[in-house]
Every structure is written in C-alpha cells, then in structure tokens.
Symmetry: C2
Subunit: 119 residues, 2 copies
C-alpha cells in the first residue's frame, strides 16, 4: 500500500537510498530500501523517530507553529523528513551528493496521498 | 567579535529574525536578534541545542558521517543550523517565507571564519 510510493520516492530522487513511513514510536509502517545499499535504514529511522519527537515537542513549547519538515546533512548522507500526522512521518535518505531539492519536492507532493492512507 | 557576522547573517537573509553562536550546553556565545521580533531566540536556541546533541549522537551511532547541517521548517519559522565544532554551532532563524537557500549559503560561507574565532 505504501510500498509503491516509497519505491518511487527513492527511485525518482537521484542518490536515493531508502524511504520509510514510520510512527514516532519507532515502528515502521512500511519501507523501501535499494537493494544495493548496506545501510540499516530501520536503525536510522528508529534513531530519528526519537529525535523527531523531541523536535516536535520543542516546536510546541516554543509556539513556532506545527513541525512540517526536517533535513539533516551528515558526512555521507542526507535525511529528509516530512511530518504526516501527530503519529506518523515519512523519511527519505539520500547519498550526500543526491538531489535533496527533488527529494523535498516529491515528499511534499506525496504527503497528502500517504496521509490519506493512514487514517 | 561574533556580533557583526551574526548581524550580517540576519540582515542579508530575507526574512531573517535572529542568529546565535551557541554551545551544545545551551549557553550562547553571542547572538543577534532583530529588534522588531518578539521571539525568545534564547529559548529557541536552548531547546535546539539539546536536540542537536542527540542528532549528533545518532549520526555517530549510525556511522553516517559527521553531522554538518540541520534545517527545520515549522508553521511560522525556519531554523537553519550549521555545526562549527564538537562544542559549538551557529543557528539562523527565518520567517517561514524567508530565503532559506540564501541563509544556508551564508552559513556555509561564514562558518570557517566563526570556527577560527572559537579556537
């Protein structure tokens, strides 16, 4: 159900490694990982689920409006996250040199469809 | 010493609200806040210092390479963060409609100069 969208997110974004729909509890609803990559996307997503929960809390405390999007750039990878609801988010992981602009655009475009399936 | 750079970051980025050089312990080295804004930048930065520490730890656990940059978009604001060292980071806060691309570029350009002053 989510698998097709996750796969197209990864394949349409140059440098795409994997994508996941996940709850803030760290439990993945669905995920797609390019078979060529040796990254443990499950582990990455669980770590980020915790962090996201805190960013969400911070946004509430600070009253800066609801959290929508988080991007993280580290030495080898980029992680793009879009909030779907109070319980779920979608994450896309790219190689460092990947096209983050395209990734963000696709996440924004696909979010409403993913959200509709989560209800 | 940092004040001039922080001020130019805020003033050269359309929608710029404030900027801060801060330690992961939540203590600001220096900050500049546009006098027109009613955001408590100190509070925002302290909240994010904690979160950044966790993102940094996650990047280490996951061996995805050293953390370099974090961007957060929420209802009303964008927060752009660039890591300066193991102890310090620089953060730039923009209104939602601000020019995040310009902000990221300026943070990248100014980071080496800020870093040099932190030693």
């Amino acid at each position: 159900m989510f698998a097709e969208v996750l796969r197209s997110l990864v394949e349409q974004t140059s440098g795409g490694v994997g994508a996941v729909v996940m709850g803030y509890d760290g439990i993945a609803v669905d995920q797609y990982l390019r078979p060529i990559d040796d990254i443990d996307l499950g582990l990455v997503a669980v770590e980020y689920a915790n962090i996201l929960k805190e960013i969400k809390n911070a946004a509430e405390i600070l009253q800066t409006g609801e959290l929508e999007e988080v991007s993280i750039l580290s030495g080898g990878y980029q992680v793009l996250i879009r909030i779907l609801s109070d319980e779920y988010f979608v994450g896309l992981m790219l190689r460092r040199e990947g096209n983050a602009g395209k990734g963000r655009f696709l996440l924004m475009r696909e979010a409403p469809g993913l959200r509709a399936q989560l209800v």
